[in-house]
Point group: C2
């Protein structure tokens, strides 16, 4: 049916595409399919009993507040809890530096709305998080991409890209989505130095920071930047930091946060007023009830134990089932690893075959802002249990061998 | 502290202002103040016990789904429930025509993202809902405003405005925010005819449709448009219709919906993927549990009873306390009425005095897209109980008398 709306779409919609990942979430709902697509936490680690208790407590004690409109900035006790949490990682912020968002995706959208003029260049890792590209495409962003190796952004490529005058740098230093790669301490320091030399600020996206399965915790770029400026643990404001409750509590409550200079928070609040007024007050109060008093730290231990095992099973299974010429990363944390096929193979074609064998993943190409990566794929190891991982990687190995033999 | 972010704001932020209403919500949190600002439902009518039961049921039966990421379109049973609800009002839609949004404010934001190019003209009532202006200012909308009387948009003014080639018409036919005025059946029909003659589609915003306290329910513009096209109760697609659970369940769960042609829904879904991935799965399941099986209709009866009384108390109290020369609307439903002071008075100045006397409202000026209305004010009658309404209107009457005496 032709309606009067189709020819009225705004110009920006030409750059909006349905996300390959979202389409895969639908695919993954088919019975019998083992999906390494998506970025879903394991339902096994959702703290269901704690949620039940918290819902009842909030509705018994403060239903008039929980079910009402709330402040756009977010529920104050939750923001204060996040401020305390942040200060333990070496930087002092207060509630004025924190905005609660409806998931990290909204933080990316609001940052785009507040900072990106059509044609602005954003410096991103290549590959980078697809959701950021999706959010910023709508505001007309262009991308300057920096090559990426096993230690993160390559400094020479970073410095070259900085000469294009990007509006800001977008970096995912811990267990990057999609590659699982962690930026080394040396590279973090170099990033801070180069950003300072070229006068370009940084957005640091850290959804998985607490999900480290081996090796030493590295300081956030935000912390290194603060030390670099000699600010002795006070928030310098040069780095906007994002994190989320999606991976340490549950994504279904859609709660994340932005740490930024209070002036930027005020601007983001104005943008959020127009975007959704406020994030669910009920969910914020429930998250506070579940999370305060040390539960988050305890719960993160459980998640790390479960996901470490799944990562190990996937790594072992890849060694067992992948043919010669296929390489993959060994992530120290997070939810993903990254597979590189021989150069002549196309992972989108592999996916078509894989779906027939009831296994799915995300072709890596989508994560490259300026093209490339046709022979790469992202695998999620958090969602499926060890048996499914073994079975799924076995299927995937057979599919790849078949495609390689042409 | 100067940070590198302030001089990097996008051009569009110049048109973002903090909403007068949101600032008032903060003001209203001060102890002792009686606020007729905001558009808040009465906490007295939140179905708290039903929410408790629903939370437990959802977490017992489907925690793995409720706490996980979900589809961007929204929870299918909830969309089907809305489709059934809609068909009772004379129009047949299915789940493909429905998108769940994080409150109606997000629906307005996504519609702006999908349809508004910088400089596009949007035809709006004057005054109109402030949240729509806030959402669309960020996309560079300009406004063609139509004058408004006690029966809604004035046809001559509407036809004049249509000649400016607006992208769409934005109308709130039932108990309009801010005036409380209802568009008559004759005017609704005229709107559909004129919109058709000039080939301009309509966005119908109907948050309060079920909150009618007297008079006969009028068909939605969407229904009239469908009949006009001879489509016998099938959705014609010319009207995009918005409604929300905020007023019939609770705003704290942030759930609303858009009814649109399925092709437009697909485009809105792409925009929503970039904006917040999906609306809280948990909240959608809880709303479904609370709302299905006829509870919403029963509950709406209670809300109407409570709000009708409050409206009547406010009307009586205005008659008793307002000085000569002050006029107000008599809304047949909704949450608001609209007060017009003598022309030489400025309601923003009245507000300054009113706050000293611990009573608040929203100056009407903010609701006019192209200026005007300095002597008007919006009063909310749903939030405060009858005693507070009497006391607050008494205070306001004294303040206005004092200001009138100069």
């Amino acid at each position: 049916m032709q309606t009067p709306w189709e020819h009225r779409y705004a110009q920006r919609t030409q750059r909006m595409k349905s996300s390959a990942i979202r389409e895969l979430l639908k695919l993954a709902e088919q019975p019998g399919i083992i999906s390494f697509g998506g970025g879903m936490p394991a339902p096994d680690v959702f703290p269901v009993e704690q949620f039940k208790e918290a819902c009842i407590k909030v509705l018994n004690n403060n239903s008039a507040g929980a079910l009402q409109y709330g402040s756009t900035e977010g529920y104050l006790p939750l923001r204060e809890m996040i401020a305390r949490h942040t200060s333990r990682y070496g930087i002092t912020v207060n509630a004025d530096n924190i905005l609660i968002t409806s998931g990290s995706q909204q933080a990316l959208d609001l940052l785009g709305k507040v900072f990106i003029n059509r044609g602005d260049r954003i410096l991103v890792e290549s590959p980078t998080y697809l959701g950021a590209l999706q959010a910023w495409n709508a505001y007309g962003a262009e991308y300057v991409s920096v090559s990426f190796d096993d230690n993160g952004m390559v400094p020479e490529s970073l410095e070259h890209a900085l000469r294009f005058g990007p509006k800001f740098i977008y970096a995912l230093p811990n267990f990057q989505n999609p590659t699982g790669i962690t930026m080394s301490l040396e590279r973090r320091t170099r990033l801070v130095e180069l950003a300072d030399r070229y006068g370009v600020p940084i957005i640091e996206d850290d959804p998985y920071g607490q999900l480290r399965y081996e090796g030493e915790t590295l300081p956030a770029v935000e912390v290194i930047d603060s030390q670099f400026r000699g600010e002795q643990g006070c928030y310098s404001g040069n780095v906007i930091y994002l994190s989320t409750f999606s991976k340490i509590l549950a994504p279904g409550i859609r709660l994340a946060w932005v740490i930024a200079p209070s002036e930027v928070i005020r601007k983001l609040v104005q943008a959020k007023q127009g975007a959704d007024l406020n994030t669910s007050t009920f969910n914020q109060m429930v998250a506070y009830e579940v999370g305060h008093g040390g539960f988050l730290d305890e719960h993160a231990k459980l998640i790390r134990k479960v996901y470490r095992e799944r990562r190990d099973v996937m790594l072992d299974s890849l060694s067992e089932h992948m043919p010669e010429g296929v390489r993959w990363t060994t992530p120290q944390g997070g939810l993903f690893l990254w597979v590189t096929l021989p150069e002549h193979l196309n992972s989108s074609e592999v996916l078509q075959e894989a779906v027939k064998e009831k296994v799915a993943f995300v072709p890596g190409h989508s994560f490259f802002p300026n093209g490339g990566g046709e022979n790469t794929m992202r695998l999620n190891f958090s969602f499926s249990n060890p048996e499914m991982i073994n079975e799924g990687i076995g299927r995937l190995g057979r599919v790849i061998k078949k495609v390689m033999q042409g």
